[in-house]
Amino acid sequence: MKSAAIKTHSLSRQLIGGVLLAEMLCAALFSAAAIGHEMHGRRRAFDVMLHGFADSLLGAVRDAEDPEDNVAVDPTELVLPPQDVYEVLSPSGRVLGHSPGSSAALLAELGAPHAPGYFNFTFNREHYRALRFDGVRVIDREENGGVRRPVTVLYAGPTRFLWHEAVEAVQFYLVASALLLAVTGIALVWFLRRRLSPLQELAAIAGRVSARSWEFVPPATVLRTTELAPIALSMEELLKGLQLAFERQRRLTGDAAHELKTSIAVLKSSLQLLSMVPRTAEQYEAGLEGLLLDSERMEELVSRMLTLARLEEAPVELSESCELQSIVCDVAERLRPLAELKQVVLGVSVEESCVVAMPAGDAALFEPARKRLAAQLPQPARLSPCAGAWWSHRAARSGSGRWHSRLRAASCLRAILPRRSLAQPG
């Protein structure tokens, strides 16, 4: 329920979205910078062009050949854009010449007082860029060095086409950027999806793992990915451990249930057999003794299971170990009073050292084995591959009068739960 409430996000989608967004932002910024640069360049070119036309005008200033020795503008050799406006003034403010066809109002607007240099003005909703500069025209330079005639040149051109060109440039950049964005975006999505596929494969495999299905085999593409390989390997290891633990738990429960059911079946069948037909008092007595034995066996079984459950609950620390010989000696010591009672000589002989990975405190686990041995005395039994135990029977009832045997550690542990194989992994 809680996990259902959590809003999930796709890492690959976020990554693809992020990269595309960054790419778009980059394209937008690049376009803006390109447009700005384009506008600046065109404006500078326009200014240079204005200056060039104004210089041409200055060059067109001629001697008016009048008695007052005035100068005038002779535009006959000039090729100027028809929409441009100009005016050439003498230092006294007299108009030496102006663009033909320009209205007086427009010329008045151009001639309005401005500092020398570039300026803008608007006339009849038309934007103009204008240049005002003071120049000196040397007339008749060949004769006595010429006469210097200062003039003021005013030259303006409409900027409408400038904006039009700028818009065209903007459109070009935007379309080019969009095309580039589309092409690189598709390539990027394909590339990212391809490169992120190991992540998706890992997520898909991990998503299929459940308590019923433990299969987790990371694909080679995942294992080849530097960032994912440690995660996949850790998960694989973890799941193997978990699966093993689950299987062990299931096996333990199954074994325990089997043992308990069998013991109950023994008890129940003994009781039912006893009551099946009328019997003599002796038969009932024998039957009750058998039942007592059955219940004792069941008690022992429950005790073994509890011991095993304790072991399962708190796994043995592999770092701890103890000498098996001391455990066998302990078991033998506990058996000694019973052995003496039965006139059995009990001894422990150590042939080789055997260290087992088990805390010394868990030697109590051998208690069920001890009980079993006590029940078997003086029957031969096996105790340990390393430390051996032997006993002899003084009575000559059996003929041989002596048993010697080894007891295997596995047998002792198997005595805890006979059907449970100790060779199980883990």
């Binding site: 199954g254 249930a257 089997h258 059911k261 069998t262 109950i264 079946a265 023994v266 008890l267 129940k268 069948s269 003994s270 039912q272 057999l273 099946m276 037909v277 058998g290 034995l293 059955d294 066996r297 059907r419």
Partner: protein
């Protein structure tokens, strides 16, 4: 009838064997592990196999497979502490005839055992009739025209075995193999003596059905054609 009980829990095996002997009059052999149990089934002396599922040596399921692989149709009843549907299906598919989950009721076990033996011999009803003789396998009684015939347990077992195979020649050896367990000293003259007594008791109630001795071959339960 002879039953094989393969159960590693000796106390339980003894209880089952004792109940089968006392209540059903069956001869019972016990095996403590799967290997011995599988070896005993090869003799084909048994009318029912009672197998525990988890056995040392060879598990019950493997024994079932071995028996069925030999085309041995002996009924098999499985005793199991694991009664999950999947396991039951696997058991039945392998060739087991029935199963009983532990801890079971001894009465139910005996009833199922008798029913399986009966069905294995081709009889659907617990009361078998040949001529005027009717044999009740549940009550273990024999009547002739409604009159109770007092038979010893061995005589009853002999008649029951022969009634399951009317008109068929049954050798003394087969009777010994199916009516006595492994511990019994086999002597064919024991059978002869019991057959003789059985004949006398049947004649005493005027029964026409007779047990014919075919020298060197065995015995045959004969009854008038119309009465079979």
């Amino acid at each position: 009838m002879r039953v094989l009980v393969v159960e590693d829990e000796v106390r339980l095996a003894n209880n089952i064997a004792e109940a089968l002997r006392q209540r059903c009059g069956f001869a019972v052999d016990c095996a403590e592990n799967g290997t011995d149990g599988a070896a005993l089934t090869e003799f084909k002396h048994y009318d029912l196999l009672l197998l525990d599922l988890m056995l040392p040596g060879l598990d019950g399921l493997s024994i079932v497979r071995q028996v069925r692989r030999r085309k041995d149709m002996t009924p098999i009843l499985i005793l199991t502490a694991r009664d999950q549907p999947a396991q039951v299906v696997e058991l039945l598919n392998a060739g087991a005839d029935d199963y009983l989950a532990k801890p079971f009721d001894l009465g139910e076990l005996l009833a199922r055992a008798m029913a399986l033996i009966r069905r294995g011999k081709g009889a659907a009803q617990p009361v078998l009739t040949v001529g005027r003789i009717s044999l009740n396998t549940v009550e273990q009684t024999v009547r002739c025209a409604g009159e109770l015939i007092d038979l010893s347990p061995t005589e009853y077992r002999l008649l029951e075995y022969l009634i399951f195979r009317p008109r068929a020649i049954v050798s003394a050896r087969e009777l010994l193999e199916h009516l006595y367990d492994y511990n019994w000293q086999h002597h064919s003259n024991v059978i002869e003596a019991h057959i003789s007594n059985l004949r006398k008791k049947l004649r005493a109630v005027g029964e026409e059905t007779s047990i014919v001795t075919l020298r060197g071959r065995g015995y045959r339960l004969e009854a008038p054609e119309r009465q079979l």
